[in-house]
Symmetry: C2
Subunit: 198 residues, 2 copies
């Protein structure tokens, strides 16, 4: 059974738990003592020198980064459903994985790190970035049901959590009706599981 | 022939030109009047609402984000050579595409934006992030020839440019011997093309 070194309140860890639930893949969840810095010490730091969670292990495969783990899960257990391999379709999914890794991480996710976990960072800049990406997503989702393709993909799983948790970082979704509709669609997927504050 | 809306001094645009050169794919390069804000106006803003370059067009396929474009190029013209579809191998490549999108973009690339192009950003933070990711990459590359697999992949193409341009942002590679060796290996790939200051 694959194993996730996990922090319950991390949206990045949640993405992995959610994708496994959507795929029906059993997952052993191992809580990490984050406040005690367990992820910065051996053996976790040997598995992920970046010193972060999630860390995902499946046999000899050891992975860091939630987006990379989603790619692995989709390719191993999802066929072409959640991540197609045709060039144009795969690239459409990738565009949004990159938004999760960049604009969303440095926007609503950073704002939440500041407000909820006391991280020292420029929260005004994070909220400005959040407003910018949410406006772009809202315009996009006003015309589409799902971010990348005509069906849910790992793009939606990658982008939804920190958008829907934005209220914990002073980034409510009230101005973004199309984004709110999409969040509800993701929450209605068969097998969906939730996390605190979502 | 695919078309790239291009800025010569952009490392992200260079990745696209480089990958096409490595694959032997002819590319129409269309310079964008960046200082004149052409990328913020129609028709470019309609192709990429994010208002950034590169923008890549291949028939009806219109893509933003250099990492997503690399995925498209590799899948369309590279078979499994530059981006394998087996789950573990694809995920290894993805880990490093995400480093290009996150740690390298917010590290050495941001420092260069500040120093070379006068962007207003926290350059001390960018250099701190640069030192952190370069130390991690140096330790990794002390044991490996290429970032993701036993051969060059789009991971190397995605990560190399802004690392090798670090000196333009006050982030020289002098302390990182393994990184320097890897940069030289990328530069020695058959078909390699360069860009200013690389």
């Amino acid at each position: 059974m694959p194993k996730l070194y996990d922090l319950e309140l991390s949206g990045n860890c949640f993405k992995v738990r959610l994708m496994c639930a959507l795929l029906g893949v059993p997952l052993e969840v191992v809580p990490v003592d984050f406040l005690g810095g367990e992820h910065k010490k051996s053996p976790l730091i040997d598995m992920n020198p970046f010193g972060e969670v999630p860390v995902f292990v499946d046999g000899s495969v050891v992975l860091r980064d939630s987006q990379a783990i989603l790619v692995y899960l989709a390719r191993k257990w999802g066929g072409d459903a959640w991540l197609p391999t045709a060039p144009a379709e795969m690239a459409e999914v990738m565009k949004w994985l990159m938004v999760a890794e960049n604009e969303i991480a440095r926007g609503p996710a950073d704002a939440r790190l500041h407000d909820k976990f006391g991280y020292t960072l420029d929260v005004a800049l994070a909220r400005e970035r959040a407003a910018r990406i949410l406006a772009l997503m809202d315009a996009h989702l006003a015309r589409k049901q799902w971010l990348a393709l005509g069906r849910p993909t790992i793009a939606d799983v990658a982008c939804m959590p920190y958008v829907a948790l934005g209220h914990e970082g002073g980034v409510p979704l009230a101005p973004y009706a199309a984004v709110r509709g999409w969040v509800e669609r993701v929450k209605s997927l068969p097998g969906f599981i939730s996390m605190p504050a979502l």
